[in-house]
Amino acid sequence: MSSATSSTQAGADRPGKKNLLFGLSNTLVYRLLSIVAVFGIWEIAGRIPISVAFPTFGETMQALFEMTLDGRMVHAYGETLKPLATGVIISGVFGVVIGVGMGLNRLFQWMWEPIFIVLQASPVAALIPLITYAYGIGLTAKTVAVIMLAAPIIVLNTYKAVRNASPSLIQMSRSFQGTRMQEIWKVIIPSAAPIIFAGLRLGVAAGFIGVILAELLITPTGLGDLISYHRSIAEYPQMYAAVFSIIVFSAVMVGFLENVEVKYFRPEKKKGL
């Protein structure tokens, strides 16, 4: 065992130096390069221009800056976040609970699986008129649209993650006299966590699609209103600023979920392979 000890000690000395580039961590440099490249291409495409309706990156950032300063952006997010946050939280909490239940219990699976498979397969945009018929044009209808897009992804991912939790780890827990509850909390859920969180990330992203769809198709409020209003009066930088901001916001949320996963469920990923 002495040889193994010395090799890991040698390994422990290295990472500090090896992974740095221009004084920044290696991965950070490459991520920044990727972002700069995309914005650069956007700027060039806007300058050519590829379409009169396509503003440059600079113009869009300027519009974003102005709209943030005069409070329009803040107001729009206040409106959009209501159905979005409600819908995503409901989908996240109930979606994971229903998905875990489906993974653990066949009866529960048979009861819920058809609903969510149908929902996942259906084009939700086509169902939005049906939502307005049932729930009107207010906050409820928009929340329902978010849930219809986010929940099936979260439920089905969670269910499959739980169902496919390592059988050998479950057997290990039983052999050391783990109870069913210990087996679920200490083995199945942590084992399923990476796929559950992948589902949550996809679900949250789908929720963003749902809320924008609802705000464009039901009644224009919040960000949907900003997008459709600025498009109608041909203020393309403002329109793209609204679209850009929602993408950034969505990406930040997805990144946040990833941190939660690593911090609370899978600490071994923090160290990296």
């Binding site: 006299q177 966590a193 600490p267």
Partner: protein, 269 residues
């Protein structure tokens, strides 16, 4: 040496049931209607000895081990541990898994203490025990590593330490070295024998390696395939006082390996 060579390598078991910590009575296992994995197995495992279940793949040796562990229900028959019938996993038996079955999100320290965690031992006690056995299996200094940072051989040492930490009388080992390379396997076998001479455990060991079975065992049970039946029980007459390298060159050792091979090869055609 000459007298050892003259002694027969095959001997019958003569123990009385009092000396047998685990007894398997009339165990059969069928999967569905047509797959007959085990057929009327009767076996006794003497206290403090190492018994190997040896046989070609498909002979039901892992099935038998998991029935003894209480992880599988037999179709017929009963297993007795300390004279009491087995209805499920119990504290007097600990399992070492072929694929290690370590929690990837837990450190070596938590993995080794996981058996104690499940039986609700206080944290300080289980960490103290875990540290002791991490040390025993030669992994001191790796307490805070995660399984993916360890080699295959080291991972199985964690699996062994976890089984030792719950202080069971019987260790059930399911091909523990099959996922480990040959050099590590030899070192591990030597370390295991040394550890067992200190800890006084009864071990039931499943393997498909004849050399491994003869090297580590006090008693070898040969199983025939489909349906699994006991073909022979062998007690290699090799002194455990000689060094590992001498055992591997010992004539009785080599003869026993050869006899088992001659015996088993007919199942391979």
């Amino acid at each position: 040496m000459a007298s050892a060579a003259a002694a027969p390598a095959y001997k019958g078991t003569t123990e009385t049931s009092k000396d047998n910590i685990v007894e398997v009575r009339n165990i059969s296992k069928t999967y569905g209607t047509d797959i007959h994995a085990l057929d009327a197995i009767n076996l006794a495992f003497p206290t403090g000895q190492m018994t190997t279940l040896l046989g070609p793949s498909g002979c039901g040796k892992t099935t038998l081990l998991k029935i003894i562990a209480g992880l599988l229900e037999p179709s017929d028959g009963q297993v007795f541990v300390h004279g009491r019938p087995v209805t499920g996993p119990g504290p007097e038996r600990a399992f070492v898994f072929q694929d290690f079955a370590l929690l990837p999100w837990a450190t070596v320290l938590r993995n080794v203490g996981f058996g104690l965690e499940l039986t609700k031992h206080p944290k300080s006690e289980r960490e103290e025990k875990a540290r002791h056995y991490i040390n025993e299996v030669g992994l001191a200094g790796f307490e805070d590593k995660y399984p993916h940072e360890l080699s295959g051989g080291m991972r199985q040492r964690v699996g062994l330490a976890r089984a030792m930490a719950v202080d069971a009388d019987v260790l059930l080992m399911d091909e523990p070295f099959s996922a480990v390379d040959e050099q590590t396997r030899r070192k591990f076998q030597e370390d295991l024998l040394h550890l067992l001479s200190v800890e006084r455990k009864t071990v039931i060991f499943v393997t498909h390696s004849i050399e491994e079975a003869v090297y580590v065992s006090d008693q070898i049970v040969l199983l025939s395939p489909r349906p699994g039946r006991i073909h022979a029980t062998i007690r290699p007459d090799i002194s455990r006082d000689i060094s590992p390298d001498d055992i591997r060159r010992n004539k009785t050792y080599l003869d026993t390996v050869e006899e088992i091979w001659t015996d088993l090869r007919k199942y391979l055609d």
